[in-house]
């Protein structure tokens, strides 16, 4: 049977508050244990669920709180050891979890691969074989067209040029090997190889950096709506989303958990996060909600800080400004249709440069101004990244990381004084990995390169 361990997001992407990342294969428990230090999952009972934090073993940083289901072979869908990690449904968090697992040695599952394994391992009935094959086909076709849509022309051009640099280097090494008497080209030296390898590596690192920004744009800018209870946060979400997504009542403390919605404001994709009003509270459920609000605040790229114009500015409001000061903020003074008891000068003093917009959500006033302010923040700010090359597909990121690693190994080998024909193994590997990103992996092209680059013969 196939031994390698595979992983994939097994819930529809972008839908639902919770996502599940599944791992299947011999290494499942080992991988999970490396990123979930809370307890030894290999020792717990099968079919149990465990709460704890995911930790990035490279940095020892906490990634997020998750629930982990442990299912031991053979009583599982694939008849292999399975781990399922339940995490927040947002793209950012799911991707982060997936990437951690990939980095720890799992392979991204091919379309339909869990089902394929389930069948090959005898879990799925013989009569279903046709259905399994159809599923693999249709999932593959879908994935392919998606991959094509996602592939930015600039990205594929850049990757092509990196591959070209690599293959020229490899062909150069190869010509020295296969035609040792050929004196037209200088002998490739370790130093030349280091120079070329390092140049490509730097490009790959740059791509990986922009990958994060690419992700932000694809999924939307994380935008947290915060404020004291009852100021109109949920109302704001509903208006921007043009849909009654969040419950609105006149009871303070209505929203008890984080509610998310994707919206597009003047071309800026936002992931709007409505939060529980922040206040000291005895109610245990509300308190958890408040905790989450603070977390959402931390993770957000943009904060819509809502104040109630009908009430005086308080210490708590000022504390919110203080808590959000690391982020882009837009202050919203709501309920302008009611009597204004807020002291604008006081707000201005605390808010500093932060834009202040007045709205009445019941009368739908000031929405335009708010939208303009949101758009301006981004189009004038750093996130205006029109000329960045976006890499955002998890698979792409994994392949880029592997390419970087392969190049590192090549450069390390040079340092260790390994002969070039061995160093070349990892350079070729880098070239192949980059090829997988753009779906080009024909081995023959090395030989084509060899004969087009050099004049060889008898």
């Amino acid at each position: 049977m196939e031994q390698d361990t595979i992983t994939a997001i097994s819930t529809p992407i972008g839908e639902g508050a919770i996502a599940i990342v599944r791992i299947s294969g011999e290494e499942s428990f080992a991988i999970a244990n490396r990123i979930f230090p809370t307890k030894d999952l290999a020792k717990v009972d099968s079919h149990t669920i465990h709460y704890g934090s995911l930790v990035d073993p490279k940095t020892d940083e906490k990634v997020e709180e998750v629930m982990v289901s442990v299912m031991k072979a053979p009583r599982t869908f694939t008849r292999e050891d399975i781990i399922e990690i339940n995490c927040h449904g947002g793209m950012v968090s799911v991707n982060r979890v997936l990437q951690l697992i990939l980095r720890e040695g799992a392979r991204l599952a091919e379309p339909g691969e869990f089902t394929k394994r389930a069948f090959l391992n005898g879990r799925i009935d013989l009569s279903q074989a046709e259905a399994v094959m159809d599923l693999i086909r249709s999932k593959t076709d879908k994935a392919m067209s998606q991959a094509l849509n996602q592939m930015d022309g600039r990205l594929s051009n850049l990757i092509r040029s990196l591959r070209q640099q690599l293959i020229e280097t490899v062909a150069h090494v190869e010509v020295n090997i296969d035609y040792p008497e050929y004196d037209d080209v200088e002998e490739m030296t370790h130093q030349m190889l280091v120079e070329r390898g390092t140049a490509v590596k730097e490009e790959i690192q740059r791509l990986l950096l922009t990958a994060k920004q690419g992700k932000i744009l694809r999924e939307g800018i994380a935008t947290a709506i915060i404020g004291k209870p009852n100021v109109g946060k949920s109302s704001l979400l509903n208006i921007l989303a043009q849909e009654n997504k969040a419950i609105v009542t006149d009871i303070p403390g209505t929203t008890r958990d984080v509610v998310e919605e994707y919206v597009n404001v003047r071309g800026v994709p936002l992931r709007l996060i409505d939060t529980a009003g922040i206040r000291e509270t005895e109610d245990i459920v509300e308190r958890i909600g408040v905790e989450r609000s603070r977390k959402a605040l931390q993770d957000a790229d943009l904060i819509l800080l809502v104040l109630n114009g009908n009430e005086p500015f308080t210490k708590e409001d000022a504390a919110l400004f203080e808590a959000a000061k690391e982020h882009d903020i837009i202050a919203v003074i709501n309920k302008t249709d009611l009597e204004q008891r807020i002291d604008l000068a006081e707000v201005r003093a605390v808010a500093g440069d932060v834009p202040i917009i007045s709205t009445s959500l019941v009368e739908e006033k000031g929405i335009d101004q708010l939208e303009t302010a949101i758009a301006e923040t981004f189009f004038e700010g750093e996130l205006d990244s029109g000329d960045l090359t976006y890499v955002s597909n998890v698979r792409h990121i994994q392949l880029l990381e592997q390419s970087e690693q392969a190049l590192d190994e090549a450069l390390q080998a040079v340092e260790d004084g390994m002969p070039l024909d061995l160093v070349q193994i990892d350079i070729t590997r880098t070239w192949e990995l980059l090829g997988e990103i753009i779906g080009d992996n024909v081995h023959e092209s090395l030989i084509d390169q060899l004969f087009s680059q050099f004049c060889l013969g008898k």
Binding site: I136, I425, I447, F451
Partner: protein, 628 residues
């Protein structure tokens, strides 16, 4: 027609493929007949008088490990030998020998004449006898009927061969031998798909008319070398080759006469290999190069003919003469034979099983240049394998398929039957994924067990080999246990090699792993009672030094093997598998891969097609179980 005899296996042709096929078949115990056009031209080298080089040299050793003759014969008949790529890693080192062309043929003929079970006859085969898609024998031009259920065709570039020089063309095999017309036509009539390939050769000049003072000498290695580990007598008096260059004037003449070149005159021609372009090709495609290398290679000890490597051409004879005059050292050279191109039929190799038997005709094998390859070593390699497998079939023994991690021979045949080729195929080290494992120094370690199991080598040779293997393992184990303390003596040695001094005691193997350290440096510190043979020391050093890379390669091989061991049922009907993409389906139907691994190497077959194939195969397995 008369009944000329019955055999287990008949080999048509005694070129490099034919001789190894006949020898291997006979060694395996099959009563074998070898038929060829001219007994004076056995294992003839129509082009370069040289064997080996990167990848190819490794193949020569692989052939030797499988009991073949090429290595031992060249060891006896070369005029110089060199180890190439000595400054590079062990994976790419290789031997190359310049051959005495005539002695090589004589020696090979002698080997054949003395091989048990093998009969050598002169004759041109006109026709194969075939009944119900089963080979029954062959008929010669002189009406002799030889019968056998296995026939190996190794007719090289003779199939409807056509020689081209300028605007002159005539039907011919290489070197003005008679071409094979009827057999080629019959193959076509049998529904076998053929392609037209071409290749070429440079002029030869008289050594007395060369001014060597204008050239650079290229001597052989001083250290005696040999391809075969069985060789004990080494040739010491070697003959040098010489290096000179083309120049601007050479290139001008070529450009002025391009339209007269048989290759450039516009006529539709067969496909030539990119790696052996004619000099016309080189000048046209790399017009910015001011000069190209020309090697002058003597064709033997008892001849004055010199092969002008680098000047392969199909320009008219008079232009060839003019070209020679422009090359330093060759200004007065007398051209003894003109260069020419030759065009010939080849069998599309995806029609073959990996055993080299045709899928459509039982018992019919093809090997060598006829399968779309080029090169003596490539031909010989296929010959050995076809011989082993044809004999195996005749004797009801197992067939032998080498995989890509076992031998370059495995890479060669897998490439041919799985991917096919659209130009004459030459082995290159870069065609091998696991070239660190496919070294020339370990060809015996990779293949001797197989060779012994298949009855291709003697008991004595196997014993010698087992002993060597044991010595290597023991020595590595021993070194792992020896601790070297940082005393003055070792520090001195390390210093001499420009290494960093030891700070604490280390294992001998750790020290050997350092790039600057050699086994030889360690010897005084790891002393043993008896010296080890140099080839054992070499193995120990390589194993220890490159352990990390070797391990990595082995892991990849494991993966490949897993897929290669998943067999595809013989009568699988790809039309029944609905999910497979149509391009992949066509390819699979054509190639009919034996294993899922082989299927995955077909271009156009994607991972999802492989997944679907796996599910389909599993379905078959399970329904069979449930029916029982």
């Amino acid at each position: 027609m008369y009944d000329a005899g019955h055999y287990d296996v008949i080999v048509i042709g005694a070129g490099h493929a034919g001789v190894e096929a006949g020898l291997a078949s006979a060694r395996r115990g099959a009563k074998t007949l070898m038929l060829t056009l001219n007994l004076d031209l056995i294992a003839f080298m129509p082009c370069n008088p040289s064997l080996g080089g990167p990848a190819k040299g490794v193949v020569v050793r692989e052939i030797d490990a499988l009991g073949g003759a090429m290595a031992k014969v060249i060891d006896k008949t070369h005029i110089q030998m060199r180890l190439l790529n000595t400054s590079k890693g062990p994976a790419v080192r290789a031997l190359r020998a310049q051959a005495d062309k005539v002695l090589y043929q004589q020696e090979m003929k002698h080997v054949i004449e003395n091989q048990e079970n093998l009969t050598l006859r002169q004759g041109m085969v006109d026709r194969l006898l075939i009944e119900d898609n089963q080979v029954k024998g062959v008929v010669t031009e002189t009406k002799a009927c030889y019968y056998a259920d296995q026939v190996i065709v190794t007719t090289g570039t003779f199939m409807r061969g056509k020689v081209l020089i300028g605007d002159i063309e005539y039907e011919s095999g290489p070197n003005n031998q008679r071409p094979t017309i009827k057999l080629s036509k019959q193959l076509e009539e049998l529904g076998i798909e053929l392609v037209r390939f071409k290749t070429g050769t440079p002029p030869r000049v008289n050594s007395h008319t060369i001014d060597y003072s204008q050239t650079e000498i290229q001597p052989g290695d001083e250290e005696p070398r040999a391809f075969s580990y069985e060789t004990t007598e080494f040739i010491t008096d070697q003959i040098p080759c010489w290096l000179t260059y083309t120049g601007e004037v050479t290139h001008e003449i070529i450009m002025d006469n391009l339209s007269k070149s048989a290759m450039y005159s516009g006529a539709e021609r067969g496909t030539g290999p990119r790696y052996c372009p004619s000099v016309e090709d080189k000048i046209v495609r790399f017009s910015d190069k001011p000069r190209h290398q020309i090697f002058l290679e003597p064709e033997g000890r008892n001849t004055e003919e010199v092969y002008v490597q680098g000047l392969s051409t199909s320009l008219p004879e008079d232009v060839q003469k003019k070209l020679l005059e422009t090359i330093p050292g060759l200004e007065k050279a007398e051209m003894m034979r003109a260069g020419y191109a030759i065009e010939y039929d080849a069998v599309v190799p995806t029609q073959l099983w990996p055993t080299l038997e045709l899928k459509t005709i039982n018992g019919l094998f093809t090997a060598g240049q006829i399968n779309g390859t080029s090169g003596y070593e490539e031909a010989a390699a296929q010959g050995v394998m076809a011989g082993i497998n044809a004999a195996g079939k005749a004797l009801n023994k197992e067939s032998l398929i080498l995989d890509r991690s076992q031998a370059y021979i495995g890479v060669l045949i897998d490439d041919l039957v799985t991917k096919g080729t659209d130009e004459p195929y030459r082995l290159l080290t870069s065609r091998a994924e696991y070239r660190l494992l496919l070294r020339h120094d370990n060809a015996d370690l990779r293949l001797i067990d197989v060779a012994y199991e298949y009855g291709l080598i003697s008991d004595e040779r196997y014993e010698r080999f087992t002993h060597k293997k044991q010595q290597i393992q023991d020595e590595i184990k021993r070194l792992e246990k020896i601790i070297i303390k940082p005393d003055e003596d070792i520090q001195k040695v390390i210093e001499e090699q420009n290494g960093t001094l030891l700070k604490e005691a280390v294992r001998a193997t750790d020290l050997l792993r350092r790039p600057e350290m050699k086994y030889e440096h360690l010897k005084p510190f790891v002393s043993r009672e008896t010296e080890l043979p140099p080839e054992v020391e070499e193995q120990v050093e390589i194993h220890v030094k490159y352990e990390g890379y070797i391990k990595k390669s082995n892991q990849q091989v494991e993966k490949m093997r897993k897929m290669d061991n998943k067999y595809i049922p013989e009568h699988i009907d790809y039309d029944q598998i609905s999910g497979i993409a149509s391009e992949a389906r066509e390819k699979l139907k054509q190639v009919r891969p034996l294993s899922v691994g082989q299927a995955s190497r077909i271009s156009g077959v994607n991972p999802s097609d492989i997944s679907i194939l796996l599910v389909y195969i599993e379905q078959g397995v399970r329904s069979k179980v449930s029916n029982e």
